[in-house]
Every structure is written in C-alpha cells, then in structure tokens.
C-alpha cells in the first residue's frame, strides 16, 4: 500500500477494473443496496414496523405539549377553543344560527370532523420533508412516517370526539342507538385520511412549495365543505349539478354522515354510504400506490 498516491488514486478513480470488482461481488453473493421492494413485501415490512409507527405517533403527541404548562390538557382545550371561536364568529356575529336548528352542535360537528382530515393533510405533507435526517439515517418503509402522522391525528381525534359528544349532549340532543355507528364513519374517514396523507407526503417531499400553498387550499376546502352552512339549504336555488359536486366532496360527505348520526338521529342515506366508502377505498389505493412508487427516492437528492 505504499505506491505513489497518484497511481493509486488513478487506478481507483479511473474505473478501470469495474468488471473484477463486480465479479467479486457476484461470486460472494453481494447485492446492490438500493431497490424498491415489491408491493406485498413492502406491506409486510410496514406491518413489521407497526410498533415503531404506534410508538412514534404517541411520542410525537407526548412531546408536542411537553413544553407547555397545561401539558396534555391542550389535547382537549384545542378542539374546545376552536369550537368556541367558530361558534362566536358564525353563530353569534354572522347570525347563521337562525336558519339551522341547534347550530352549535351542527357547527362543532363540522369543525371537528373537518379538522381531522385537514390536519392529516397538512401534517402528511410534512411527514417526509421534515424527517429527512431520520430517513437518511435508518432503513424502514417510508410509508411508516405518513402513517404515524395520521395515527397521531387519530389519537388527537379521540379527545375531540369526547368533547364533541359532550357538547352535543349539552345542547340537548338525546343519546341514540345510531351513535354506535360513529366508529364506522370514523374508520371510513381514517382510511380516507391515511390514503390522502400518503399522497400528500409524496407531494410535499418533492414540491417544496407545497407547505406554503397548503393553508390556502385547506381553507378553500373548509369553506366548500358545508362546515358553517347546510349545503342543501344554500344550493336550493342553484343547478342540481353544483349541489351534487359539493356533496360529493369527501369532507362534506363525512361531515354530513356524522351529523346524521349525532344530531338528526337518522340512518344515513344510501348515497352517503356509497360516497364515504368510495372515497375511503379510492384514497387508500391511489395514495398508497402513489407513495410507494417513489419509495427509493425519499430523502435523496
């Protein structure tokens, strides 16, 4: 190893002997490191990492409020304050409440359900781009990150739902057998959010301007989703197609479904079931596939 530096560097840099090294690698069964696993293998890897995903989500929730004095209490306070602000704005000041019965319950249901999806979209878009050091240090299926972020939001939703049910009871709605269906609609929404979160994760990883743009997109979505108003009421003088488009909006569908169960005590119509199910399955398949296609490129370049 004591030959002149230049000769050694040239021999190694010139790539004059790639055949011999590649052949040596093959003889000993060494493989290239970078490859995207097949979809079934990927799903298996993801399943093996389920403990990491859950622990990561919980840890993020714990650390999120660890600096504040009230600590985990904020998990309940945040949705409560949100509801109070919207109720003050749209219920008291803008006077929506005169047209809709039990407006506080109507509004708060909309806000809570929409917030679940909105927060998943926003955090999903950041799940890859704000974890680059983790991605560059450890091997794991990258889908674990958007999945953990969605689970984190689900844990938060638990508190929101408790607040929501309590408020609905306070506003005078009776307990109903239909409430047993709440987990079903939440499950459909969760599946939709998982898919959407994965889709957004890939967008956010490669389009660096996405995080700047997202607040505007989600706010537009919020206004279009009938959180503050009843879609069928607002669109009764407009063409049917417009109402149809607004009601096909996944956020609006999940909100309406939840209102049916919580406030109106009626079994959701068939189109509501179809819309909610369709969006869940569609988002999951498209989002997961789209995310997986770029698996080997996250955290690179």
């Amino acid at each position: 190893m004591s030959q002149p530096e230049s000769a050694l560097a040239e021999a190694q840099g010139g790539g004059r002997a790639p055949e011999s090294l590649a052949a040596l690698a093959e003889r000993h069964g060494l493989r290239r490191a970078i490859a995207r696993p097949s979809m079934p293998a990927y799903l298996r890897q993801l399943w093996d990492r389920r403990h990491f995903i859950l622990t990561y989500a919980t840890s993020r929730n714990v650390s999120k409020y660890s600096e504040s004095m009230l600590g985990q209490l904020w998990q309940v306070l945040t949705p409560l304050l949100n509801a109070a602000v919207y109720w003050l704005m749209f219920g008291v000041i803008l006077g929506q409440s005169k047209q809709i019965d039990n407006y506080p319950a109507f509004l708060i249901t909309g806000v809570m359900v929409f917030t679940f999806t909105q927060r998943t979209v926003i955090s999903g878009a950041k799940s890859i781009s704000s974890n680059l050091s983790l991605i560059r240090a450890l091997h794991f299926p990258r889908a674990a990150l958007p999945l953990a972020y969605t689970i984190q939001e689900l844990q938060q939703l638990g508190y929101s739902m408790a607040v929501l049910v309590l408020l609905v009871l306070v506003t005078g709605e009776p307990v109903s057998w239909l409430w047993l269906l709440i987990p079903v609609v939440l499950l459909m929404q969760l599946v939709f959010n998982i898919g959407t979160g994965m889709f957004m994760a890939r967008l956010g990883a490669f389009m660096r301007d996405m995080n700047q743009l997202l607040p505007f997109i989600t706010r537009t979505w919020l206004y279009a989703s009938g959180v503050f108003y009843a879609i069928d009421d607002r669109t009764k003088d407009l063409p049917d197609i417009l109402r149809w488009v607004l009601e096909f909006n996944p956020a609006a569908a999940y909100i309406e479904f939840m209102r049916d169960l919580l406030i109106y005590q009626r079994f959701p119509e068939r189109w509501a079931w179809v819309t909610c199910l369709f969006w869940a399955v569609f988002a999951l398949i498209v989002g997961f596939w789209y995310f997986w296609r770029a698996e080997e490129r996250y955290g690179r370049g």
Binding site: E10, L21, L30, R31, R49, L134, R300
Partner: protein, 273 residues
C-alpha cells in the same frame, strides 16, 4: 494500471485472517465499493449574487433560470475498495472530504451517480439519534429508538436494562433527554444504536464525546462486533480512536482516496500533510 487494484483485493483479505483465524467467515468480502461517484443537490440560500428577496426570485422565474440555490455537490469521486468480515475500517479526512457521504452511500441511503456499492445484508448507520426526541424521557427514547431500528417488543424488553447499564446514565433515564449533558446524550445514543447486532455497522463521529471510561467501553463493544465477524466503518476526527480501534484506514481527500492501508502508515502520512 490494473496492478494496484489487484493488489487491493489480494492484500486486504489477509489482514483479518491474521487477526481472526478461528472464525471461518472472516476474510470473505462484506462490502464492495466499485468506482463510486455521489452527486447530491443542496437547497438553501447560496449565491453571492442572489439577493434573496421576492423581486429577484420573480426575475429568476421570468428569465427561466433554474433555482440558483440548488447546488450540485460532487462529494465522492470514484472510490473503490473491498471490506471483509472482521474488518474495522477507519475513514479519515478533512471536513467536507466526503466521509459521511461515503458512509451514507454504503448504507444504501444515497443513490450512486456512477459505480455501485455491493453489500451482504443491510449495512446500518449508527444514526438512531434522528429518531429520538429530546423532550421525552430517556426511557421512552430507548423504546422509540429500539423500535426505529426494527426491534420487536420482546427484543426491546430484553435489551432495555442492558442499554441503561451500558449508557451509565442511571436515574437520569426518568428525565427528559433535554436535561442531559452532551456526554450523557451521546452515551445513551451509542448504547441504543449498538444494542442491535449488525452485520455491517457504520459509525459517524459517535465516539467523539463521552469520558474516557465510556470510550473504553464503546471500543470494547466495537471489538466484540468485529470478533463476531461483523464489519465496522468508523468516521472520526479523533485519530487516537481510529488507531486503537481499526485495522485499516482509508484517507479521503476531496472525494477521492488519497491513501489506504495500515493505520500507522496512513495516520503518519495524514499527520504530515
């Protein structure tokens, strides 16, 4: 010109064999780096001419120039070597010579621009720190870190006490990591990431901190891994650590191998340069 390369692949296998005659696996290659080039892009403000205000950003888009703050860095320029079972290879070089990039490429975390890295199994970077959260207690971080490395709950329970013992942080395990001294943090991180057995372990400056006692313990652990026929790569600015731990040293200079071989020889030349 083929001679030096030939020599590389012939001489290197003999090194571990002399040290590790009882292990039959010793001597066969674990990592082959073949004419590797790594180019990566860097985002962020850069240009001297770029003023970094909204107007200049708009002008740039109008003139259809690419993003000037996107720079390409040619970090590794044609590196080749073969590592074997039982090797502990030190990588030295000045800041920015491509040491960490080379490690990431071996770990399969950066794609080669040209050339290839062939590995046996999955090399892992000793880099669990990225998964840890400083607001959380050491206890939670141990569990989180173990899961991040892909352990099962059973393995985590099994290793937990060993990690606490090895790190020597004692009762501090109940406190948030943000309250730790830098030495304690480094010890806990090393303890977590070395709890898992790796075929090929890549260590980037992990041993720089920590007191003398801990340095000795961590060197011992690296030696154990070598004896188990693993391969260890070690990047460090602290040359003593390299000299005591490694049986081979690669000196990177501006992305190329400047010199490669016996630690004493290379370190002597490095210190003169």
């Amino acid at each position: 010109m083929a001679e030096p390369t030939k020599e590389l692949s012939q001489v290197a296998p003999q090194i571990p064999q002399t040290q590790n005659p009882q292990n039959p696996k010793a001597g066969s290659p674990t990592v082959i780096v073949d004419g590797l080039h790594i180019i990566y892009k860097v985002y962020g403000s850069s240009g001297d001419s770029e003023k970094g205000n909204a107007a200049s950003a708009l002008m740039r888009i109008l003139r259809r120039q690419g993003r000037p703050q996107m720079k390409e860095v040619h970090a590794v320029k044609g590196v080749s070597f073969v590592a074997h079972h039982g090797d502990a290879i030190g990588i030295i070089g000045r800041n920015g010579s491509g040491k960490s990039t080379l490690l990431r490429a071996i770990a399969g975390l950066l794609p080669p621009h040209k050339g290839a890295v062939y590995t046996n199994g999955q090399p892992s970077l000793l880099g669990v720190n990225a998964a840890l959260m400083k607001e959380l207690t050491g206890e939670r971080n141990i569990i989180l870190g173990c899961y991040a490395m892909g352990m099962t709950p059973g393995e985590v329970r099994e290793k937990y006490d060993e990690i606490v013992d090895f790190s020597g942080i004692g009762d501090f395990v109940q406190f948030p990591m943000s309250t730790y001294s830098s030495g304690m943090g480094a010890r806990l991180r090393f303890a977590i990431s070395s709890a898992k057995t790796h075929d090929v372990l890549l260590i980037d400056e992990a041993l720089a901190t920590g007191d003398r006692d801990f340095k000795r313990k961590s060197q011992q652990r690296i030696k154990q891994m070598r004896d188990a026929a693993g391969t260890v790569f070690l990047v460090a600015h602290n040359l003593d650590v390299i000299e005591e731990t490694c049986n081979r040293v690669i000196w990177l200079h501006k992305g190329k191998i400047r010199m490669e071989g016996d630690p004493q020889e290379v370190l002597e030349a490095y210190n003169k340069a």
